[in-house]
């Protein structure tokens, strides 16, 4: 199935529409960053359902927003060496290949099929939010590794240096390729796939895993965003307000996250994702 070009009126952007997209982006960035999912997973379906933005253009805007947020958030974590740069680079060999495959596939999927896939992914994320185990309070005592990808960082909350050994790299590469494909196909970051994989399979402490995942997201999104740009799907009228709004929202979310009650937020976001999934499924069913 070959994707059809969207009607231009759906991309036109006056002041009101700019404000509406920026507002949705800010809300998505705020909520997404507070629960660690990123903003794209709300931003893309909300723009599609509320404003009629064609899903391929919404996905392209989501990728732009993901890159902005990842680059801003990663800067501090990389400087403070919480991010495992070498592990991130190694896994990026798989995420970028997956992202190119996902971004290429998206061009050949029509809007209805892409919306249906997105609806399923929204439901999976809602279930993940409700069922995921709480992260451990303390980092595991993994011992100092001397391997190329092993890491260490200073944890201010524990008041000590945390060292860890990275294990099962082949599994990590395989799962990273899947996360990259999902990112390229749906325009989201893929953190809900990579973070549990790094903590549960590769022995990386949660703080380092979250920071390394965020670090990788920008390059992964870059790989597929270039494809979308060359195809003319990165519309400034959609991508600019979405990226600006999501960036401001994510910044505010990072400041508020420590004060918010995580469990309540996760249930709220799970409910929002479920509603969006049902609405997307209905829009596919009705042929909208």
């Amino acid at each position: 199935m070959i994707r059809k070009s969207p009607p231009p009126r759906m991309l036109e952007c006056g002041m009101e529409r700019f404000a509406a997209i920026a507002f949705i982006g800010a809300g998505a960035g705020l909520l997404g960053s507070m629960v660690g999912l990123g903003g794209g997973i709300i931003l893309i379906p909300a723009m599609t359902l509320a404003l009629g933005v064609p899903i391929h253009h919404a996905i392209a805007a989501g990728l732009v927003a993901v890159i902005a947020n990842s680059s801003m958030a990663s800067s501090g974590n990389v400087r403070d060496e919480v991010t495992n740069v070498r592990l991130g680079m190694a896994l990026e060999t798989a995420t970028t290949v997956g992202a190119v495959a996902g971004g290429t596939a998206a061009a050949f999927l029509d809007r209805a099929l892409l919306s249906a896939i997105f609806a399923v992914f929204l439901l999976l994320n809602a279930a993940y939010l409700l069922l995921r185990p709480a992260p451990p309070e303390a980092a595991p005592a993994g011992g100092a590794g001397r391997g190329l990808l092993d890491g260490r960082y200073h944890d201010p909350s524990l008041r000590r240096e945390v060292s860890y050994r990275v294990t099962r790299l082949p599994v990590g590469l395989a799962v990273s390729a899947l996360a990259g494909a999902v990112s390229g196909l749906l325009g989201i970051g893929g953190g809900p796939i990579k973070v549990p994989m790094m903590t549960g399979v590769m022995g990386v402490p949660i703080k380092a895993a979250a920071a390394t995942s965020n670090f990788m997201i920008g390059v992964t999104a870059c790989a597929s965003a270039a494809l979308y740009y060359r195809r003319g799907m990165v519309s400034p009228a959609v991508a600019v307000p979405a990226a600006l709004g999501a960036t401001v929202g994510a910044w505010a979310g990072s400041k508020l996250a420590a004060r918010a009650k995580g469990a309540h937020l996760e249930r709220l976001l799970a409910a929002i994702l479920s509603v969006l999934a049902v609405k997307m499924a209905l829009s596919v069913w009705r042929g909208a």
């Binding site: 800067s75 680079m89 060999t93 870059c222 979308y228 990165v234 307000p241």
Partner: protein
């Protein structure tokens, strides 16, 4: 802890921060240009070959497209910075890994002509 900072981490952090700052500045300039001329935001980004001349002429579409490209290029720049740092430190295996990622990014940029 007073462990000396890893030069690669410091350089990558600076590249990320600098790229986002540049991109946001260009986007702000593009929005201002569109507002001053009473133009709606362009629905399509400018083709790669025309971006720089239009941006230098102060055209809103050119500035916004250049801002978006600067944002999209920021992660690629940080990979390049890392490649340089790994080369300086003679970490050949990490340099090979970084070069592979750069090759995939280059392939993505050059193969993006589609059926839009």
């Amino acid at each position: 802890m007073t462990r000396p900072r890893d030069p690669a981490s410091v350089a990558v952090a600076a590249a990320l921060k600098g790229g986002v700052t540049l991109a946001l500045g260009l986007l702000a300039a593009g929005l201002a240009a569109a507002a001053l001329r009473g133009q709606p935001l362009p629905t399509e980004a400018v083709e790669l070959g025309r971006v720089l001349p239009l941006a230098l002429a102060g055209d809103a579409a050119g500035l916004l497209s250049l801002g978006l490209l600067a944002l999209l290029a920021t992660p690629a720049v940080r990979v390049t910075v890392l490649a340089y740092q790994f080369a300086r430190a003679r970490e050949w295996r990490m340099l090979a890994v970084t070069a592979l990622v750069l090759a995939v990014l280059a392939f993505s940029l050059l193969s993006g002509r589609g059926e839009a």
